[in-house]
């Protein structure tokens, strides 16, 4: 029988918390950039202007057809060189966090774009007609009438996607960046207590994500009521 020993966890909590902060930072940046860029992509795709629509469709299909972990690896390899070349950063500078944020943001934009596109299409055409009939421009009709309704309808889906994204941040372990999962792994490896640390990390992920999903469900019930 395996002998559980949880004693290395209390002392490691500050380090684990640092990791959690990195996970949350990446999630936050990727959700914000993903929704902004995703909204633009969705508008391009629905614009009826072929070059824009093709670009957006190509972008979305490309990112939805590659594994996330590969995208992340590319960004870990490309972004440092890019930043050295353009910003004149020293080759030793640690750009892993920035790389991770960019990789997630650009990847998640493709998923957000699809959610937002469906959300925009869920707003009845008559609403746009009514906005136009009052003299609004395309931009005003989108900003004041369509997008607020679309986002209200989509809010549960957008939040659910954010929860999935939070779980996926653990993939940054490929760059040895100490996010929450990475930090737990490092502590477990150092103390020879990998099983305990991973069980603990799993429990934390479960509590956070399950709690958040539950909150989203309640919100959904309130929105649709």
């Amino acid at each position: 029988m395996y002998d559980f020993d949880w004693s290395s966890i209390p002392g490691a909590l500050p380090f684990l918390w640092e990791g959690m902060k990195i996970s949350l930072e990446i999630t936050l940046v990727a959700v914000i950039v993903g929704i902004l860029w995703g909204t633009l992509l969705a508008l391009m795709r629905l614009s009826g202007i072929s070059p824009l629509a093709y670009f957006a469709a190509g972008y979305v299909n490309l990112f939805r057809s590659i594994p996330l972990v590969m995208v992340l690896l590319w960004f870990f390899l490309i972004v440092p060189q890019f930043m050295q070349a353009v910003l004149g950063l020293a080759p030793t500078a640690d750009t892993r966090l920035v790389s991770a944020m960019m990789g997630f943001a650009l990847f998640e934009s493709a998923y957000y774009a699809e959610i937002i596109r469906a959300g925009i299409q869920s707003v009845p055409k008559g609403q746009v007609a009514a906005a136009y009939a009052l003299g609004m421009t395309y931009g005003q009709a989108m900003r004041l009438v369509v997008l607020p309704q679309a986002f209200r309808n989509m809010l549960p889906l957008l939040l659910t996607q954010a929860i999935i994204l939070f779980q996926d941040t653990s993939l940054v372990y490929v760059s040895a960046l100490a996010d929450f999962f990475g930090a737990a792994y490092k502590v477990g490896d150092r103390d020879g207590r990998l099983v305990e640390l991973l069980l603990f990390a799993g429990a934390v992920y479960f509590v956070l994500c399950y709690g958040a999903s539950y909150a989203v469900k309640r919100l959904q019930r309130r929105v649709s009521a």
Binding site: G126, A130, Y132, L134, G135, M136, Q140, V145
Partner: protein, 242 residues
């Protein structure tokens, strides 16, 4: 004020409007009626450029609607429209529905727009509902808010689209009262409706459409007295006996 000349429109191969011509002079009310699917909604949506058309010309207050240089948003801001399904903005309160275009399109100050909105709400008898959302109102109440919203822009004319039948009679009366008053004040209106009482009371002419064509365009007395076309006669006897 509104002049429609030989307008035709197609959805692919399907011709929705065939060579339609009619005219609404300043201060006139013209009622459009006809069976479901005859193209009534499509015709009035062409008037403010919500639907493009392939041939013919529509001129509103000396502006050609389909013209290449026409500032459509500006023209539309001067033409009030009430939709068949009202199309109030469901994420805004009634007050916000009445204010948004005044401030964003006309550039009125918020308190000025609010005053105007509340006055119009009083006019349609819904002052108590300013802070409610459209979903909390009945169909007839929503329709009156839609009228108030269109009036908030100080339109030079109104386009009014009504569904064939849906509202209960009591509601219809509240809405008609508002519209009759508007007509009596001299508002230029193109009204799609099957309320023949309304047509009798205020319309200068009645336009009867069938399968995309204007089959009959007659002075109201003549239309009710002796419609020339057989289709119009059938149509009239059917709706008058309901």
């Amino acid at each position: 004020m509104i002049s429609i000349r030989r307008v035709s429109k197609f959805y692919g191969d399907f011709q929705v409007l065939a060579d339609c011509s009619t005219e609404v002079k300043k201060g006139e009310v013209v009622v459009i009626c006809g069976p479901s699917g005859s193209g009534k909604s499509t015709l009035i949506k062409c008037v403010n450029g919500l639907e493009p058309f392939q041939s013919g010309e529509i001129v509103v207050d000396d502006v050609s609607v389909g013209g290449p240089k026409t500032d459509l948003p500006k023209l539309r801001s001067r033409v009030g429209m009430v939709f068949q399904h009202f199309e109030l903005f469901p994420h805004m309160t009634i007050a916000e529905n009445l204010i948004i275009a005044q401030t964003r399109v006309l550039g009125r100050r918020p308190n000025e727009a609010m005053d105007k909105g509340l006055k119009l709400l009083e006019r349609v008898g819904l002052t108590a509902h300013a802070e409610k959302y459209p979903g909390e109102l009945s169909g007839g109440q929503q329709q009156r808010v839609a009228i108030a919203r269109a009036l908030s822009m100080n339109p030079i004319c109104m386009l009014f689209d009504e569904r064939t039948s849906a509202l209960d009679p009591e509601m219809i009366n509240e809405v008609l009262e508002v519209m009759v008053k508007l007509a009596q004040e001299g508002m230029t209106m193109m009204v799609v409706t099957h309320e023949m009482e309304f047509a009798r009371k205020v319309a200068r002419r009645v336009v009867f459409m069938d399968e995309g064509r204007i089959v009959e365009d007659a002075r109201t007395e003549e239309f009710f007295g002796a419609p020339r076309s057989e289709r119009a006669q059938q149509f009239l006897s059917k709706i008058l006996h309901h």
